[in-house]
């Protein structure tokens, strides 16, 4: 099992973000560095959820906003290591929708369950595989540093 290392400030920030947007899904990017021990996340960037038609159970970050996030990650000398979003009143487990829409191979997808407006468990899933055809989520531990 791989491990995702999250700076405490990032861990707290992404959970608070889920509470702020409840009952809608929040979303954002995780910036960090790749090491043999896994991703070390140093920063997060909030993003807007384009899926205003179904924000309670869907999220999408606009490509234009992703462009800006990529640019900011380069400015900080970091890489986009993954993304986070929340599941309002749903478990912090990946859904078929999450898998179908996941294309950032080698990155981590962090999900926080937000129940009645309060963040509960936060889980991370590494998108393993090297093609769209063999991609799969693998649970990974979160080390808060």
């Amino acid at each position: 099992m791989t491990a995702l290392h999250l700076a405490r400030t990032v861990y707290d920030a992404i959970r608070v973000h889920g509470e702020e947007t409840y009952p809608h899904e929040c979303c954002g990017a995780l910036l960090g560095r790749s090491t043999p021990e896994g991703w070390w996340i140093e920063a997060s960037i909030k993003a807007g959820n384009m899926r205003t038609d179904s924000a309670h159970n869907r999220y999408q970050i606009s490509p234009a906003e992703l462009m800006k996030i990529e640019r900011e990650s380069r400015r900080q000398g970091l890489s986009i290591a993954g993304f986070y979003h929340s599941h309002p009143d749903h478990p912090a487990q990946w859904s078929q929708t999450d898998l179908v829409e996941a294309h950032w191979l080698g990155c981590s997808y962090v999900i926080t369950a937000v129940a009645q407006g309060k963040a509960e468990i936060t889980n991370s899933f590494f998108l393993a595989g090297d093609t769209e055809e063999n991609k799969r989520f693998e649970a990974e531990s979160i080390e808060v540093t």
């Binding site: 899904e25 979303c27 990017a29 899926r51 179904s54 159970n57 869907r58 999220y59 999408q60 970050i61 490509p63 234009a64 992703l66 462009m67 990529e70 380069r74 890489s79 986009i80 290591a81 993304f83 979003h85 599941h87 309002p88 749903h90 478990p91 487990q93 990946w94 859904s95 078929q96 929708t97 999450d98 898998l99 829409e101 996941a102 294309h103 950032w104 191979l105 080698g106 990155c107 997808y109 899933f125 998108l127 090297d130 093609t131 769209e132 799969r136 989520f137 693998e138 649970a139």
Partner: protein, 99 residues
């Protein structure tokens, strides 16, 4: 010109986060990129040679698919291309677990 490579595609571009190419159009730039790094091709294009639906390509700050010339748009040495895979998902109506 510079082509910025996103995290998931770097393993197929010798680990590089940016590649320099010498091309006259967006299509030629992507062609040179995939000629240099053939493993990238299947991640960017379908077997029919069309850009994969979840792959967004930006010429500077413009989405190529909305440019009048699309991939035929001319480029200069000062331009940059950014490859941006889509990001979306959500709880939806079903849940799975890898545990």
């Amino acid at each position: 010109m510079t082509i910025f490579i996103p995290t998931p595609l770097r393993p197929f571009a010798a680990g590089k986060d940016a590649v320099e190419v010498n091309a006259l159009t967006v299509a030629a730039a992507l062609d040179e990129l995939t000629q240099t790094y053939p493993e990238l091709r299947k991640h960017l294009f379908t077997v029919e040679g069309k850009m994969r639906a979840f792959v967004n390509v930006y010429l500077n700050d413009e989405d190529v698919r909305y440019l009048p010339g699309k991939e035929a748009t001319e480029v200069s040495t000062k331009d940059t291309l950014s490859i941006i895979p889509s990001i979306a998902g959500g709880a939806g109506g079903d849940l799975q677990s890898s545990r």
